[in-house]
């Protein structure tokens, strides 16, 4: 049997699945001041009368890092970056322990200015004196040549507990995002480590001794051990859990939209042939931009508990949430109250809901029923408008080759899958209003936990070969090997796949779930000097596609 547990902002959901069915599902309120206790009590509930020895997989998704960022209660850490020519990096991190140092590597990975060892020693001593324990080090173009980061780490090693290096974060270029991501990993490490060590110990006491898997923002899992190097990857795993939970119901060979309607927000995501779309670079939320691999999702500030009011004779819904619906003791009318008035939902105090919606109706000069319907329609329209904006953006993504331009794939959804409490009511309404097939996912209220339980391990590898220099490298994996002039595209891909398999297995993937590998990018260029060819640059990125583990197809039928 397997367990999936998703700690959300309001509720924590957990499921226990056998290969035939959902054996058990639970929903408990999240105590955000004590996530550890929330997780433990969920496991205790879930494992009542269950032999822990029958559990062979555990996947946990938490808001631990997300909360740490939102509440800004991360420990101060040191950051050392070297930029060389280009945009001034001094504004990238707002911290008094942030140092921009000399040293420069160019776009081909050639050293243009050396590291100043004395400068680094000086900074190390200052940071040590300030009580800093963890330091992140990032150099521009380190994904082409990480030698400066490695050298700086060697100097710092004796002063600090752990050093995080930029080139380990991702094979993608983007210096500011790499700095932000490395900073995040460095800053949440101690919190993540102590939290999950405590979880691990407690689960062992319950008799759960199997390795724990952690859900990432890209809808894949990684082992607890590998999460220690990249704790930032656990940020925003919640939306990913829900999207993964919708996959079984997505149409084959077609495009689909996933809408997860929560209390405060609705998460929007896209599936192509049952595979979720990824962000091209990494998570971005407002000004926070990172290289953390992530599903392509956006949140719109509208949900079942969004505040409703009338401003200038116009109905306004969200984005704030003031509490639960009035029917459940909240202070202001919400879409949930409207659903109750419309006779769709039967839970809650209908009289209180009527009070709330009634006040809105009077301001708009409508009957209660008319106002409730208007609220419901407006919610649908806000969500769908945002969704179509995202699709427009998706379909107008820049392309860099003639081939891509001419073959440009247009995302054209045939179906909307809805999750979250009010999913089934919204599905019907959207189908009626927009003439697009809409369907609430079965078990919509715990689909996130199911998604977590079934998510398979994902990872990616970026590999580049330079036949002029005679070397193939994947610096992210600390991999470098000599190659001959005749190193080909096929050699590159097979090397990349070998590295990907090794990385997946060390991140906790089991051998049965390694066949969904694909080439994401492949580029080939001649290096020409003085009008004669000197060699080739070959670059590729391969990934394990986000998806579900095998053997549980029956559970969801």
């Amino acid at each position: 049997m397997i367990i999936g547990l998703d700690v959300g902002g309001t509720h924590t959901d957990a499921v226990l699945l056998s290969s035939n069915k959902i054996e058990k599902k639970i929903k408990v309120p999240t105590d955000s001041s004590d996530l550890f206790h929330t997780i433990l009590s969920s496991f205790t509930l879930l494992l009542e009368n269950i032999d822990p020895k029958t559990v062979r997989r555990i996947v946990i998704s938490t808001t631990l890092t997300t909360n740490a960022i939102v509440e800004q209660n991360m420990k101060p850490v040191g950051m050392i970056v070297s930029a060389g020519p280009g945009i001034d990096p001094s504004s990238f991190v707002d911290s008094k322990y942030y140092y921009c140092v000399s040293g420069s590597i160019n776009h081909r990975g050639r050293e243009k200015a050396p590291v100043n060892i004395i400068e680094i020693e000086d900074i190390a001593k200052k940071l040590k004196k300030a009580g800093i324990e963890y330091v992140g080090v990032v150099s521009k173009f380190c994904v082409r040549n990480p030698s400066h980061e490695i050298l700086i780490k060697r100097i710092l090693n004796k002063y600090f507990k752990k050093i995080f290096l930029g080139h380990h974060v991702s094979g993608n270029l983007n210096f500011p995002r790499r700095i932000a991501t490395t900073h995040l990993n460095t800053a949440v490490f101690s919190l993540h480590k102590s939290f999950f060590e405590a979880v691990k110990n407690s689960l062992e006491e319950m008799g759960l001794t199997i390795p724990i898997q952690i859900l990432k923002a890209d809808g894949g899992t990684m082992s607890l051990e590998s999460s220690m190097a990249f704790p930032g990857q656990t940020v925003l795993s919640g939306p990913a859990a829900s999207i993964m939970g919708a996959i079984p119901y997505a149409p084959k060979n077609q495009d689909a939209i996933v809408l997860d309607i929560g209390g405060t927000t609705t998460d929007i995501a896209f599936l192509v042939n049952k595979t979720p779309l990824l962000e091209p670079f990494g998570i971005q939320r407002g000004e926070h931009k990172s290289l953390i691999r992530s599903l392509r999702t956006e949140s719109k500030g509208i949900g079942g508990d969004s505040m409703i009011r009338v401003e200038d004779n116009k109905l306004v819904i969200g984005p704030e949430r003031k509490g639960p619906a009035m029917a459940f003791g909240g202070p202001v009318p919400t879409p949930t109250d409207a659903l109750i008035i419309l006779g769709l939902m039967h839970e809650g105090d209908k009289e209180k809901a009527r009070q709330g919606i009634g006040s809105i109706a009077r301001e708009l000069g409508l009957t209660d029923l008319e106002a409730a319907d208007k609220i419901f329609k407006t919610c649908c329209s806000i969500i769908l408008k945002k969704t179509f904006e995202m699709i427009d953006k998706l379909n107008s993504q820049p392309v860099y080759t003639v081939h891509e331009f001419l073959e440009g794939y247009k995302f054209s959804p045939r179906k909307i899958l809805l999750l979250g409490g009010p999913a089934k009511y919204f599905a019907k309404k959207i189908e009626k209003l927009y003439h697009i097939k809409a369907e609430a996912v079965p078990e919509a209220s715990v689909a996130n936990a199911i998604g977590a339980a079934l998510a398979r391990t994902t990872c990616e590898v970026s590999l580049s070969a330079d036949t002029e220099h005679g070397i193939v490298t994947a610096h992210e994996e600390d991999f470098a090997e000599p190659i001959s002039k005749s190193f080909s595209e096929e050699d590159l891909i097979s090397t990349a796949y070998t590295l990907l398999k090794e990385k997946a297995i060390s991140s906790g993937a089991d051998a049965d779930n390694l066949d969904e590998m694909e080439v994401v990018e492949l580029q080939k260029f001649n290096i020409v000097r003085n009008f004669s060819p000197r060699g080739k640059i070959l670059r590729t990125k391969v990934q394990l596609i986000p998806g579900l583990i095998k053997g549980f197809e029956k559970v969801l039928q």
Binding site: A83, G84, P85, G86, I87, D88, S91, S104, N106, H107, R108, K112, A113, K140, F141, L173, N174, F175, P176, R177, Q284, E287, K289, S396, Q397, P398, V399, Y400, T401, V402, H403, F405, L406, Q523, F525, N526, I527, V528, N530, F531, S532, P533, I537
Partner: protein, 436 residues
Amino acid sequence: MLKALNKTGLVFFPAFDWAIDPTHPEREERLLYTQDQVIEEGVFDISGIIEYKPDIVSTHDIRRAHFCVPDEKTITTQSHLISAGGAKAIADAVLTKEVKSGFALVRPPGHHSMRVSHGGRGFCHINIEAIMVEYIRSHYGVKRIAIIDTDCHHGDGTNDIYWHDPDVLFISLHQDGRTMYPGTGFTGELGGPNAKGSNLNIPLPPGTSTEGYLYVIKNCVLPILNEFKPDLVVNSAGQDNHYTDPLTNMNFSAQGYAQLTTLLKPDIAVLEGGYSIEGALPYVNLGIILAMAGIDYSGVIEPDYDPEKLKQSVSITDKIKKTIDIINAYWRQKNDLRLKAGEPGQMQVRHREIFYDTDNIFEQQKETVRICRDCGGCISIDSKAKPGKHVLCVHIPINACKSCIEAGYDFFDKAEKKKFDKVFLQDRTKDTYEIK
């Protein structure tokens, strides 16, 4: 976080799968290192910098600027159409005011392509700026446009297309034609009889450095722009004036390009040449983007930059100053020059020979223009290419007066079909194109 002072649009179309041939300077990876630098710097994440997808131009778009012989399809590839479409996408973003200004980093380039195009010249098949400018005139009704060509080679194609057009001011800064392809662009080349002085060619001596370029911008280009008062400024932003460029002999720098952009404030910049793909382009393009967006570019310096080595000699400075005096004098006399060029209603003829180095074609032209004080004047071009076709091309300018429209149709109607392989009529007043 970084924020652009001016909202800036970018189209990035490196055409990673297109080359003239594998070792040609105009090949796949020309913009690879630029892309690496721009992405590593996180440019597309800067608030206020918006990346647009390139458009693709239609046959109709091309037919506003060119007579393609035998036809558009034969002399272009998809890459040319998308490159021109990149410029068009930026034009839309700027003209609809989604952004304040924009930069199309596209390839292949276009500024050596003339009005009649039988094939490739100087790595160019169709003129991406001219196609964009004509699109802007037809779609947005913009009247006065200035094109400042800062590529190291004379922008002879653009110069040819606007040779007779008094509403488009074309200024080209380039390495002296006696030392550089295409061997034209001397100070006396001022435009046709109806547009004398609205074409200005500024040849610069080999070894001109940042100081010289900025001198020309400050003491010639900006004052003339001030007087001309264009509604739109386009920069053909070639990057081969750089001190590391393998095809040229100039000493311009990334800092210089960025300062030039800050001074010129182009609404639209379109990439042209530039073949130092590792040593120059990544830094020059980054400098131009930051300058357009109004972001500090003081750190954009080539790793091997040595201002002492690149200092301009006194004799070069003197030569540049003399050239500028000549240009400024011509500009002041432009109205007189036009009056002296001929009587209204007269037909003026010039004979030309054009060599297409990229496609090895030799073209002979007999161009007839109607002298007119009210518009740019209609033009008829008898063009014979070896190898190639013999065609007659009639152009009626967008702002043509009634007499010139009539004269244009007269050229077309009277052309004997059996004398030519094809006869074309480009009527810009109605945005139509006829073939007989």
